[in-house]
Symmetry: C2
Subunit: 406 residues, 2 copies
């Protein structure tokens, strides 16, 4: 993209109430725009980051047989009443609204109920199972407080997957497959080595759920881990019984701040029983379907990465999710001409800063935006047929033959 | 995709209150699921159709310099109060909701206000203009009645674009560019020859707006056209003054039902003036920015195409937006083996019906789903090294060499 053609320019300041450093950079670099606390617009670069995250998530979930849908935001209360999650005493984060034609609706904060209801049309026999469905959709949660930019939103983009199985063995296999897909996802997102499968509280149907926690100073969670980080647990389950279960002792555990970037949960028949999602087994017997749910906060992950991967100059995107891979600058007449030439045909991976600005301003913008490689072409580099390439993460600069640039 | 691995199966009946034929087929073929009137889920095939439509729209808008964003659904009333569109007397299709932290919010029915507000951060000089931004986003409109399936929804997917210019000449140029992009879009969607640029009522800043009307029996509009269809106008502007303007006479006009699939509108300073979106011109003078808005109902277009392009056996998707291009069926042992082989490596364009069903049921499903080409491989066709390929639209069948299949 040609920066002179974009409405985006970097800003000197972020909204005053934006306290987290990554969120400030995201605002200043033109990735997001704050509407109200916890509600953001995604500007062109921000949307590209979201799309890159979505693509990775999609590829890994499709690989394990996940089928993508798009459920509605507007929720009919009926199924939620049956599962006892409509009452504000039971679920307090509903946004509610009135239908002009009469009746109250909610804005979907999660989608166990509608997926379960919809699948009653499609699941009747053990032959129809297992099923794994997911969506990438905007969720609404009426949080009393929203903070840390896009890390905890009232309106946010989420990937939610749900699995449906005949028995525990089948469910456990799906659960493991999703867990492994998640591990691959965080690896590809560039936070794999800092993200841990963490024991968290379960429910009626399983002792534990699993969270994926990423080390992050502004994270909201406190996690405890043993020396080789083979056992990691959330503070909420730091009790003797759990430590015994997991074979660790309190005194060998260290703790740190982390941000939850995903969670996976065994639901059993919690939703299928009240909503009547049953199947007929091989003996002709009717049984409730066993479910699991699996979330990844897409916009939250973007926020966590922005907080984790930034320095005093700006953002530092991992290559796989950066909006563009290269930030191209031409200096002097010859450099600009050559840059123009080298931009051609690479519009999708290169930001070409062709604006009428001083080099120093362009260098500062390249850093603030966190583009992985800054490419500078000048009379001087051209004399040797090269470009100067600077790695945003390491700060390392080297001269690269023009022919080997991209 | 391998049909045996999908939860989707065709259904014998559609929801009882679904009266339009296309909507019935979309339900029965597993493309959509009705939550409440005007609110639908998109199941895997339906989502693929939406995605194909989105891709075409995106490509054409990017080509004319449109920059994609994603604005929030939750709307702060402030800017809408300034433009006098918050009052239910002025705009009656708001869904409203209460923030737990206090205050009322709306669910965005359109996005002139937030785009105008956001761009105040980015537009200050004539050098910053023109700007063209768009988004593909879920819109909410609290319609008293919703009908014809996904053709008129309360929650629907829309592409909305907004342009920002310094003067009328610049605005008119943008307007023409978008109009031409729309013509290319409807061509590529497969409805170009049945879609007409139609004169409709304008506003304070322009005498007319333009609608894109597609011939469709269940459409909500009545359009009037002259013999060569060079002048088409909406019933709402069928008055002497307009006919004089356009050089047509009432008696030479014929009329027909049509569905609006897009509209483009000159806004002038209607939003920029009350919201203070100004720029400094070459003489240092402050002036309000001139705006235009341009909509395409993505899910509505899908609905219109489903209604228009169907027969007594089911849907008939145009090739460019069909969820898959081929529906592959193997008959007899050898045919199944060969089909399996020919499916390999073509998972993205082929539905492989590998289910344990009678051939007749598979044939019926291929037709109901509206997949452009049915490919049947049997002992008989294999004897000549061929497959039988049936065109869903024409019904024509021919034998094609296996090597030339896709």
């Amino acid at each position: 993209m040609r920066l002179s053609q974009s409405f985006i320019k970097t800003l000197r300041s972020a909204p005053k109430d934006e306290t987290a450093r990554g969120a400030q950079y995201l605002s200043r670099a033109g990735y997001i725009y704050k509407e109200i606390a916890g509600v953001y617009d995604y500007l062109p670069f921000g949307l590209r980051v979201l799309d890159n995250i979505k693509t990775i998530v999609r590829e890994e979930l499709n690989r394990i047989g996940g089928e993508e849908c798009l459920m509605s935001t507007l929720q009919n209360p009926e199924p939620w009443i049956k599962t006892d999650r409509w009452d504000p005493e039971k679920m307090d984060i509903w946004f509610r609204t009135q239908l002009a034609a009469g009746g109250e609706l909610g804005l979907g904060p999660t989608h166990e109920e509608p997926f379960t209801e919809m699948l009653r049309n499609y699941i009747s026999s053990y032959k129809d199972l297992p099923v794994a469905v997911y969506q990438i959709q905007t969720k609404f949660r009426n949080e009393l407080r929203a903070k840390s930019g896009i890390m905890r939103g009232r309106e946010f983009l989420m990937k939610d997957m749900y699995t449906f199985a005949t028995n525990e063995e089948e469910h456990d296999k799906l659960y493991e497959e999703v867990k492994n897909a998640y591990i691959r996802i965080y690896d590809r997102l560039g936070i794999g080595s800092d993200t841990f499968v963490t024991f968290a509280s379960g429910g009626v149907f399983s002792k534990y759920s699993h969270e994926f926690q990423t080390l992050c100073e502004v994270g909201e969670d406190n996690i405890y881990y043993n020396a080789d980080k083979s056992v990691v647990l959330n503070e909420e389950v730091l009790i003797d019984e759990v430590m015994n279960d997991l074979g660790v002792k309190r005194e060998e555990l260290e703790n740190t701040r982390a941000a939850e970037v995903g969670n996976i949960f065994t639901l059993g028949t919690k939703f299928s029983a009240p909503l009547g999602l049953e199947y007929t087994d091989k003996n002709g017997e009717r049984k409730p379907v066993l479910m699991g749910c699996y979330g990844i906060g897409i916009s939250r992950v973007m926020g966590v990465i922005a907080e984790k991967m930034c320095d005093d100059k700006g953002l530092v995107w991992p290559e796989n999710i950066a909006p563009y891979k290269y930030y191209l600058i031409g200096l002097n007449e010859e450099g600009v001409k050559k840059a123009e030439e080298l931009y051609h045909g690479h519009e999708e991976e290169v930001i070409f800063d062709d604006r009428d600005l001083h080099a120093g301003e362009k260098f500062a913008d390249a850093e603030l935006m966190g583009i992985p490689y800054r490419v500078v072409i000048s009379d001087k580099t051209l004399a040797d047929g090269k470009a100067e390439v600077t790695n945003r993460q390491t700060g390392e600069t080297k001269l690269v033959d023009l022919a080997e640039l991209y």
